[in-house]
């Protein structure tokens, strides 16, 4: 397309995300929805600050009744496991992040410490929200996900390398092919995932497009 290169400046504080490297953490299961990632009651906030501690909250705590008193107790969810506390690469199943459009969900994961998510497939709004935070969502086939999950469970300290540009995931001395959506890959590796400045760079063209629409009252 002839006009494909007038991107405008990227915002200064959106660094390129070429690769993410760090210990992994596995959350198993398919169709993990945004209500599981961050239950709705934690959306009653005016900022995203502090959401990290509520990631997967309802799976991390259970109420146990002993002698008539109800106590909240930690479950064996990986997000409770001190061995995984430094994890930055989350490994998930298929259709991860389905459900609501709440950006609070990836915000909570990122604020917990997650910098990249590797999985079999992602719900699209969720993946888009991750992109807006500079968090790559990378897909592998089902068997490769399973192998990686088993690896990070067995060795919580070992690094997993997610290479966004090369579309690979490396761990334990091997490298597997991954898939990154083309637009996401470009935005991440060029540091253009924060789109506001880019979108705002062409005010005349926005006005032109708007004025050509029969239903929009034209301006200027």
């Amino acid at each position: 397309m002839s006009d494909a290169n007038d991107g405008g400046p990227s915002t200064p504080d959106t660094p390129a995300v070429e690769r993410v490297e760090g210990p992994g953490i596995a959350v198993r299961g398919d169709d993990v929805d945004t209500d599981q990632i961050l239950p709705a009651r934690f959306l009653k906030v005016l900022t995203f600050e502090g959401l990290g501690e509520f990631a997967f909250f309802d799976q991390r705590f259970e109420e146990v009744e002993t002698d008539g008193t109800v106590e909240e107790r930690e479950t064996d969810h990986p997000f409770n496991d001190p061995a995984h506390r430094d994890a930055s690469v989350l490994v998930v199943g298929s259709n991860f992040g389905c459900g609501s459009s709440r950006e609070h969900a990836p915000q909570a994961l990122q604020r917990w410490g997650i910098d990249a998510v590797v999985g079999e497939s992602f719900a699209e709004i969720f993946a888009g929200n991750c992109l807006a935070l500079g968090v790559p969502t990378v897909t592998l086939d089902g068997d490769a996900v399973e192998a990686l999950q088993s690896f990070v469970e067995a060795d919580p300290d070992a690094d997993v390398v997610v290479d966004v540009g090369e579309e690979t995931v490396s761990y334990d001395g091997r490298t597997v092919d991954a898939t990154v959506d083309d637009a996401h890959q470009h935005a991440l590796t060029e540091g253009q995932w924060d789109t506001t400045a880019q979108l705002a760079a062409v005010p005349e063209r926005i006005t032109e497009t708007a004025n050509d629409l029969p239903y929009v009252e034209s301006t200027r």
């Binding site: 929805d33 709705a40 309802d58 709440r102 699209e124 888009g128 996401h184 979108l199 708007a210």
Partner: protein
């Protein structure tokens, strides 16, 4: 790739340019805002010293956290109060029209847009809410977006998006009595899967969809997201135009209506449209359905046996098993008689006037079961007022239902309307995820408003086709029809 579909045409008209990433920059015709996903976006805007670009194309309401019982200010829940105050401040500063609870227009964002005629064919509509797909019922391209994108839209009235493929979902035949739009969309999701729509938008069509009223089409489009599709739409036709003609947008401006109608007709997919995929669903075979699990695709006809987890493909077995552990259903048995504790008629899927009328047909002259807590939460203040003019509030109250003020309510349990412990809820909403209705042990059975009403009366899942329907008397029927 698809060609000459409504999606292609409307997309191209709104495309400002292609971005270096390959995404398109799309102009947004209508930006709907609510209190839960917008405060952070307004905050980011301020941090960057930017202003709202097109307040005239932005419209706000409050729905997710508003209480449905005592609405005196300040709200009893301090967090809810602060969220509403924040929205009041943000829209005030930016000159954005706001359907405040004091205006008589407040309601669920996907109910108020269409009822005021703000949602129109051939528009792009976005909102920080995944059920924005609802507006596709009018032939608009409607997308749920995240908070960073809300910031982008506030700042520029445009959004960066990737074009998807188009799947035509053709529903043939004719629906049986007692079968509703809700049963249609739950059947579509059952057939195509909760992630079957990933990479697609759905164009719904065929005789069943053409015969639906606007409320039914909205129910169908609403749940596109539950099927994994990025959006869903129905081509505009006479039914669409009839709805729009009476709305605030056009009631006093027939010239504008005539002018835009030409545009609306021009965007239909037409005979030369090419789709990336076409799927046919046999409408004659659809029966009233109910969910047995914890995803909206775990659906079964009310007379059919609940499937055995072992009957699924390997990858889905474990998911099915865990879902059945949670809901406690028995494979091999039908859902009929499965006891319910709560009956919820509400949500952006099914809380429009025709949904309430539909539930009232079952409830009229009957009482809800002693063990059932029943809640009717109209989709908007206008729906509530219209229903009250017809006496529907009395029908529900007489039967033992609580008649509440409009909002999202028990659809997601962000206010006091929540399940307690492992209560089972017969719900006209759209998600049966674990914890969705406020209790992580709670169990949600999705069904049509009619089926919810039947379950409320009998105390358990019931085939509504076996219950006689009681129509309103003539006086009520001729009451003013308001959208």
């Amino acid at each position: 790739m698809s060609e000459n579909t409504l999606y292609d045409d409307v997309w191209d008209r709104h495309r400002v340019r292609t971005l270096p990433s390959g995404q398109d920059q799309l102009f947004v015709g209508l930006h709907l805002v609510h209190e839960v996903t917008s405060p952070q976006a307004f905050g980011m805007l301020e941090e960057r010293d930017r202003e709202v670009a097109r307040p005239d194309l932005t419209h706000a309401t409050a729905d997710h956290i508003v209480p449905t019982d005592d609405r005196s200010r300040p709200y009893g829940d301090a967090a809810a109060e602060s969220m509403l105050s924040e929205l009041e401040a943000n829209v005030g500063d930016s000159d954005i029209a706001f359907d405040h609870p004091d205006t008589g227009r407040q309601g669920i964002v996907h109910v108020v847009g269409p009822e005021q005629g703000r949602t129109q064919p051939g528009m792009t509509v976005v909102c920080g809410d995944s059920h924005t797909a609802t507006h596709g019922a009018f032939g608009a391209l409607a997308f749920g977006i995240g908070t960073s994108q809300i910031r982008d839209v506030l700042a520029t009235q445009t959004v960066a998006m990737e074009k998807k493929r188009v799947r035509r979902v053709e529903v043939t035949g004719e629906l049986d009595d007692g079968v509703t739009a809700k049963d249609v969309i739950l059947t579509v999701i059952r057939e195509l899967g909760t992630d079957g729509g990933v990479g697609y938008v759905y164009e719904y069509g065929g005789p069943v969809v053409e015969a639906m009223d606007m409320a039914g089409r909205m129910t169908v489009c609403n749940m596109s997201i539950e099927g994994g599709a990025r959006a869903g739409y129905v081509e505009p036709d006479e039914t669409t135009y009839e709805w729009l003609r009476e709305t605030d947008a056009f009631a006093e401006d027939p010239e504008r209506f005539a002018e835009l109608r030409e545009y609306w007709e021009s965007i239909r997919s037409g005979p030369d449209a090419e789709y990336d995929d076409v799927v046919t669903i046999d409408g004659d075979a659809i029966e009233p359905v109910v969910t047995w699990g914890t995803t909206p695709g775990q659906v079964v006809g009310v007379t059919e046996p609940v499937p055995d987890p072992d009957s699924f493909e390997e990858g889905e077995r474990e998911v099915a098993r865990r879902a059945q552990d949670h809901t406690g259903v028995t494979p091999g048995e039908s859902m009929q008689g499965y006891p319910v504790d709560v009956a919820f008629v509400g949500s952006c899927t099914n809380a429009r006037l025709s949904d309430l009328r539909d539930a009232a047909r079952v409830v009229r002259g009957r009482e809800i079961h002693d063990d059932v807590r029943g809640l009717v939460v109209p989709g908007s203040q206008r729906v509530a007022a219209a229903a009250e003019r017809e006496g529907l509030d009395t029908v529900f109250r007489d039967a033992g239902f609580q008649w509440r003020a409009p909002g999202c309510s028990m659809c997601l349990g962000m206010n006091d309307d929540q399940l307690v412990g492992d209560e089972v809820c017969a719900s006209s909403s759209n998600r049966n995820f674990v914890g969705r209705q406020g209790s992580k042990e709670g169990r949600t059975l999705l069904m049509s408003p009619r089926m919810v009403a039947a379950a409320a009366v009998t105390g358990g899942v019931t085939d509504v086709r076996e219950m006689s329907l009681v129509e309103a008397d003539d006086a009520e029927e001729t009451a003013e029809v308001t959208r």
